[in-house]
Symmetry: C2
Subunit: 199 residues, 2 copies
């Protein structure tokens, strides 16, 4: 016999299928939702449907946006000659939060990963190369993650872009600010050493 | 400036308002949802709306159900003379999972907590007393949690029910099965000692 009613079970199953939500959390969330006021529940369900229906890729940088062209690409005050390439919209947001990057972005929506069967054709590289041909770009900053996939993607991009004569740079890899050397892995320590700069 | 589009921000805000989901998890979930196939997203949103719209209290035991009367109260093979009183539907499910309890339930939807301003009138005690008057009940097993609120509620119920002549019992409190005495708090150890039974 099912422990809960059909509707509750369906809700629990749906919630438990989301990443990072286990069976117990799904149960707790389901009961929380059932006890919410109806208008709050409607807002929650609508926000899910609306986000999926109305969010699409920016025609220029491929980030997720409500409009045809995202507010960053549409902003004339940004430096459109400097493109930072990131793996996803969350990484874009992370750099935007610093408030110090004045250029524009290009979102790949992934990284090359032979292990997962993700090749160069599966991420937004064609769109990047088209931008470099049509726009007046001076520098491409590759800010993919410092993981195996991120590094592979960075190498691939550098090989693609170099023949065009456009400068390609890679964000520095090293000891994070506030990081304690004792607890940092050897690869990072060696990277930090290689990337040392003069004081 | 907002880091994401309006729809994404609204979805993140809605998700982050749920219990146990922080800002980072809400962000991860939102991007996961945006990348799901449309029919999966519709199923998720519908399950939320449907659960809230169609789930209500069982007219007999107050548990959450799709029908007027829940399958347990409707089951003639259950022992309707024994009512187990629990705080919520999850506790009911926990006892149902044991598969050994043949009686029926009464769900209070809370416990008396002067700290949180929850009095006897805020939980489904009136409904319980009405059942005891109209149904042929032999025993009320109080299975509220072993917390301050649960114990207070248990005492309160015992005082209400005793004058009716119906037997009131309380589930045992003690060392959990598999529990290591070394790591168990003193109150539990004393409870286990008080509640010792002959071998």
């Amino acid at each position: 016999m099912d422990l809960y009613s059909g509707h509750i079970n369906r809700l629990i199953d749906e919630l438990a299928s989301l990443p990072g939500i286990g069976g117990k959390s799904a149960q707790r969330l389901a009961f929380y939702i059932i006890n919410l006021p109806k208008d709050r529940v409607k807002k929650l369900a609508d926000s899910i449907t609306n986000a999926r229906e109305n969010v699409h890729y920016c025609k220029v940088c491929c980030t997720l946006t409500d409009d045809d062209i995202c507010p960053i690409c549409n902003n004339p005050n940004r430096d459109h000659k400097t493109i930072m390439v990131v793996e996803n919209a969350r990484d874009l947001a992370a750099y935007e939060k610093t408030g110090k990057f004045e250029g524009v972005y290009h979102v790949l929506h992934g990284a090359i990963s032979p292990m997962l069967g993700i090749g160069p054709g599966d991420i937004r590289l064609t769109e990047l190369m088209q931008r470099l041909q049509t726009e007046d770009v001076e520098e491409v900053i590759v800010a993919t993650n410092s993981s195996l996939e991120g590094e592979t993607t960075a190498m691939y991009i550098s090989k693609l872009v170099k023949p065009t004569g456009i400068k390609v740079t890679r964000i520095a890899s090293g000891v994070p600010v506030g990081g304690d050397l004792e607890y940092i892995d050897e690869v990072t320590l060696l990277r930090a050493l290689e990337g040392r700069t003069e004081l």
